[in-house]
Amino acid sequence: MALPLSYPLRNIRARFARTLMSIGVVALVVVACTLLLGLISSLKRTVVSTGDPMTLVVLRKGSGNDGSSQVGLDAYRDVRFFDGIARNVKDLPLVSPELVVQPFAYTKEGGRENLLVRGVDAIALEVHSDVHITSGRMFNPSSGEAIVGKGAMGRYRGAQLGEELQIGHRKWRVVGLFESNGSSFESEVWADVRELAADAKRIFPYSALRLRAATPAAIEPLIQRINDDPRHALEAQRETEYYEKQAESANTLYLLVVGIAILAGTGACFGAANTMYAAVQARTAEIGTLRALGFSRGTILRSFQVEAVALAIVGFAVGALLTLGLEKVIALLLGTLAFGSASFTTNVISLRIGVRDLAFSFVLAIVIGFIGGLGPAWRAARMRPIEALRKA
């Protein structure tokens, strides 16, 4: 004989205070875990998702990133006509000469950070296929205009469409905004490469070259050819590889957050399981009564399991709602989050709670409910009814 489903559900109402406590605990666990997971996935998106396997980064040999690399005009002119480089509709090689400088930029709160400003040509948008302008337009060369990534837009003073951004020795008019699927380009400001070089007084016009290979098979020979060129001492690597290496230095941060998440999650699970455990244990007498009435062990166990899982689901729902609210509050209070990157500039990430983060927390909540409910229900169900009844 099965216990009616209304029994465990009505129980939730009957012991309201205690139920509320259990729900609260599960909700807190969900909030803590989802926030940390959201942070981890936002970090990962920024650090790891940057780069295109068909694009190559060409740096001066021995320099770790484009912030400290230098590439001359002659090198650019030579590399441009190497075989295996893709061409656009106008038959121009897809090679983007770029200059990276790290001027001060001021955040809306007045903090000072090193902003990564990338000097590019118009061809850059074709080479970086994942970068697209979402509003406004591309800058015109030599007219003091710049476009701003989505992450930088929210963070810095003057980094809005139509406003003026003070960078280096002058002001730049922001004429466009761009996105790149959350990759680290979104933390950057792009301007005309010649104008930027003039403003930064760079002797070498470029820091690095980015180029697109015509076919996957062309990549290896192209890398070989660039690395072996005796004239310019250059080094080519896949863009994905390059950002992986950059991410290595952010690994400590990543590991730290993961470590915190594991610790916090374990602690919270202990607690939540404990609460569930206590909630069931307090009802030993009731279980004894049910056994005396003739309900089987399995039935009782299942019924308690249903109750615990139902509690966990409610707890998850409350926690998820809280987290989504908190996400907005954090965005409002802190704006975007930032961490330093290898080139001493600031990577901007925005905390976004993804479906995956929520799904993981959901599973966690169910597991907490299940395990927390199983032990004591099992014990209570196994108890001899007479003993259990004595407690009533």
């Binding site: 605990v25 007084k201 602690g267 455990y277």
Partner: protein, 387 residues
Amino acid sequence: MKFAPFVFANLRRNPLRTLLTASAILLAVLLVCILLTMPAGLDGFFERVTNNTRISVHNKAGIVYQMPYSFTRKVRQLDGVAAAISQSWFGGAFEEEGRVSFPNFAVEAEHVGSVYPDYNVPQQQLEDFKRYRDGMIVGQATMKKYGWKIGDRVTLRSTVYPLNLDLRVVGEIPNSTPVAWINREYLDQALKSAGRGGLGVTGVIWARVSDPNRVNEIMRAIDEMSRNSESETATETEKSFFSSFFGSLQGFARIILLVTGLVALCIVFIAANTASMGVRERAPEIAVLKAIGFSRRVIFGTILAEAVLLSSVAGGLGVLVALGLTRMLHQASTWNQQLGPLASFMLTPAVLIQGLFLALFVGMLAGIAPSFGAARKPVVQALHEVF
């Protein structure tokens, strides 16, 4: 004291629950301690490294924008400036290609002692740094990391300039900083012989002001001096320089602290819940105790003692684990560009005490509510539940 066996017996009543509660508290304390080392590391860094009479002069446009080297001399000659030194990022990588594992700069050897008297580099080592063009003074943290000794020879490959420098360790900065200084003269000549026309520029000028009361005035004077030149400067105190350097981390630190706060809250909640359940279970027993004449104070006291004992033992263990773990992390971690001094993982006594207090606080909070309720319950009502 005579109630101690009673308290222990109560703790043993449900070992699984006691264990779960203790583990939760232990983890919470561990977490909070490790996280608190981060701001503590930053404060410690400021205390160790910065000095309120030292100021930084850099290009207004950014740290990576250079200034003419000659400006160093102008700053040095300014009235009220005791000493000044030019510092240029060398970005030397050791062993690992293209990865700078500790900050290293080219400086003027003859001015190190007068700008950084508080670093306490021994006089003889400063003399050696001046004498040997290929000399290098290395911070304690980096010395330890690579097991270098004075007299060792190392090669740094610059990530900024296309050259390698063979260097010899001539001195150690004894304040656990990772920074290393090489001779500006040496770099300058190496650049010239590589056909790149000398250094000519400087990244940051550090100046020591002779009178702490005149710091603001001198900072203004320096910026005034560069006004309308090719490279206008921005001058600020050493502390302000480093706090904006690590400023971008603050948002990150805040969210981590927020989450930790949540976890701590979670744990207080749980401990309170468990304690109240434990007490409720014992209601008949408490009624009997009261009926045979034990006072409210005793009942209140024993239940509170139980909660405090559990949380302080668990908290103490948590602090111990944190101590071991941070020691391991400290040894494993190297200078990190992302986290800077936040990742120093040094457990200061202050952090330890904060961790212990958290545990005690949780214990008190979790104990007070249920023990209060239990002690106040009328005997007759409680006995009703027994019979």
